[in-house]
Each structure stands twice: as structure tokens, then as C-alpha cells.
Symmetry: C2
Subunit: 217 residues, 2 copies
């Protein structure tokens, strides 16, 4: 599948590499026509890797990952100059304000809002799915590194077909379908984003490189 | 141990009954000298159950549970007319605003604040510990009902000795000490309180009477 990734940081890089490993064509996208991290990504991956601007990635991809810094996510997506009609946007961004110690949520996206639903509201023709933001991204794209993959991941979004396509990618990453929990429409992004505050505290308390949660019922 | 419980609702009732089952003396406390739910609690439990006002409970208990409605918790605690010097307050209150659908956090306690730390700030001589608020209270006081008790609980607070005493009570409830995670000082109440938004969505999605999470590392 053709997939555009907006954001050339570590999150975009790890998602992009894993997508190529699992057989997809990936355009890594930055704001500028020449972005060193994006060009390095192309060099470090196979012929299935390319680089483009945000605008080019939004055209290229059937699915677009939003892997931008949460603080600037909306502005970054506007740079595509598209309405994302019928495109799936998989939003993995986090609204953490790292200027606070420990981090808090960026007020704009806290409690009665979220990045996920803000993107959906900004691009009503897109099909936004929130996922992968609730654990370290290296583990999120390769879950079998921990507990043989037996831990939980969440998805939220308004469009059932988009969630199904997203879940297919997640299973390619190694997630067992029984461990992927659909928690509802895109406003449930609030749950996944505010949960990060607990993730931060767990990281401070557990002092281990990888941790996650398994929902028990 | 002598324990006062502020709040005669279901939460206070379940905690109080379980404390009596595990050998403690409990004063169930309401705003008024005569509270039907409080008197029913005394009738339904052993000679170790008594009823009193908030003020009486704060004097009676070496440990005080705050089991009041989150929205009114601070005002309720002020009714005790005490500074809770050297008392342990175990805060189990939730800052959910049920006028929203699904519920959001009460803004006063969202993101950069929490009920737990607000109580600590209001009563600096008290030793406030936050716990038990992250799952259904019936399960929280009797964790072995689910997965043979193998799921996780969190504690937060500034005073190590108060956390140790709280953890002793939690193990009496049936929690395995390895499943109780100390996530830091009382400001970590934010993590436990904002996590409720995910709990609410999981309750809607899973449609099972009991669920919890186990931290995997």
C-alpha cells in the first residue's frame, strides 16, 4: 500500500521503516523539499522508500500517518493544502507539553478536546483513526519485543472501514487482533491522549526501557 | 485500626464493609448527625461499625478515607473543622463530570491539578495517599474477583510511611504487593485521575461488569 508519513522525527522514522519491512511503499515527508532526516531515511531503506513534501505525501498516500510534534500537528497538516478527502489519516501524535516537569497536556488538547478529534474537525472529509500513541513507538511498531506481544493497543475513529484497514497494518506490525481494542469514535482520542500522563509516571517509576498494559476482563 | 470514612455512598459503603471484614473498626461518616445510609451501614455490619459526622470521623480515624463525590470533596473535608495533622487521608475520589456524555474531568481538577493534590494543598499537615480510584470500587476492594487478582493498582503520595500503611490495607483487600505500583508523589494523582477517561471508554467498549489493567514490563 502507498503510505505517506508526515514528520521525519524518530516517530516517523520508526513507523516508516517498519511499514517498509512489512511490504509497503513509504513516502517520508517534511516541510521542505530537502530534509536531511528524510533523505537519510530513503538512504537507509529499500527502493520502497521515497521523500517528499507534506503536500506530495498527502497525494501519494492512500493512508497518511500524522507523526508530527503534537504541538504543531494542525499547522503541519494544513501545509498539505488538501482536504484529505477519503484518505485515512492515522494520528499517532501526542499532546504533551514538555516544558512542564513532569509533562502536562497542551491545554488546547486537554480534557474536552484531543489532537485526534481536532484533525477530524479540521478535515471533515478525512477518515481519522487514532492509535499507536499509548506506548513507546519502538515497541508500538514491534509489539512482540515485550511479553511475546501479549499487551493491549487501542484504536478510535468514526469510520469503521478506516479502522479495519488500520487494524490490518497493526497486525502486520505484530499485534494480535484480540489485543487491539476499539474504544469508539474519534472523541475517544481524549482517552488515549490523557492516558499518556499515566504512561509518563509509569516510565519514571518503573525505570525499564519498555512497558505497556494489558486490559484484563 | 480505627478508620473513618467520609462519604456514605456506594464507594464508602463498599470500602467500609471490606475494612470491617478485614478486621478494622470503621466509623462511617456523613454531613449530618443522622444519615440513613450511614445508619444502615451500622445495622448491616458488625459491632466494629459505627456512625458519626465528618468532624467525628476525622477525630476517630488514624486513617481517613475520602469517599465523597469528587465535585464536593474539598468542601466536604472542610466540614471536619480539623487540619488532619499526622492523619493519613486515603483519597479515592474521582473528578468526573457526569453532566457531559461521556463524562469529562471537572475542569478545576484537570491536567495541571487533581483532587489528590488539592486535598494535600488544603491540609498540608495531612499525609494524603491517592489509590483505589482506577477501577470499579467493588473490584478495587476485592481484586481476586478478576484474573485471580493478577492486575495492577497504583498509589501516589508524598509520605513514604503513609504509603506503606496504605499498601498494608490494600494487601488485606487481596492485592498482591507486586501488583501495587508506587507512581510517585501526590501530584501523580493527576495520572490516576485522568486515566479515568480511558476507563470510561473501556467500560463502554468492553461491556463486561469488571475490567482492569495489568502493567507489563
Amino acid at each position: 500500500m502507498k503510505i505517506g508519513i508526515l514528520g521525519t522525527g524518530q516517530v516517523g522514522n520508526l513507523i516508516g521503516s517498519r511499514l517498509i519491512e512489512t511490504g509497503h511503499q513509504v513516502m517520508m515527508c517534511g516541510r521542505e523539499a530537502n530534509n536531511q532526516k528524510g533523505l537519510d531515511f530513503v538512504k537507509n531503506n529499500s527502493e520502497n522508500a521515497s521523500y517528499g513534501t507534506f503536500a506530495e505525501g498527502a497525494i501519494f498516500g492512500e493512508i497518511i500517518f500524522n507523526a508530527t510534534n503534537g504541538k504543531f500537528a494542525l499547522d503541519a497538516l494544513k501545509l498539505t493544502n488538501t482536504d484529505f478527502a477519503d484518505k485515512i489519516i492515522i494520528d499517532v501524535a501526542n499532546p504533551l507539553d514538555f516544558s512542564a516537569e513532569p509533562p502536562t497536556l497542551i491545554p488546547e488538547f486537554a480534557n474536552t478536546n484531543s489532537i485526534g478529534e481536532s484533525i477530524q474537525n479540521l478535515f471533515p472529509k478525512a477518515k481519522v483513526v487514532k492509535t499507536l500513541n499509548t506506548l513507546a513507538i519502538a515497541l508500538a511498531v514491534n509489539p512482540k519485543q515485550l511479553n511475546n506481544g501479549d499487551h493491549s493497543l487501542f484504536v478510535a475513529g468514526n469510520d469503521e472501514n478506516a479502522k479495519t484497514k488500520t487494524i490490518t497494518i497493526l497486525t502486520e506490525f505484530g499485534w494480535n487482533i484480540d489485543n487491539i481494542i476499539d474504544i469508539g469514535d474519534i472523541t475517544a482520542s481524549r482517552a488515549m491522549e490523557s492516558y499518556l500522563i499515566l504512561v509518563v509516571r509509569l516510565s519514571m517509576a518503573l525505570k525499564v526501557p519498555m512497558h505497556s498494559i494489558k486490559v484484563i476482563k
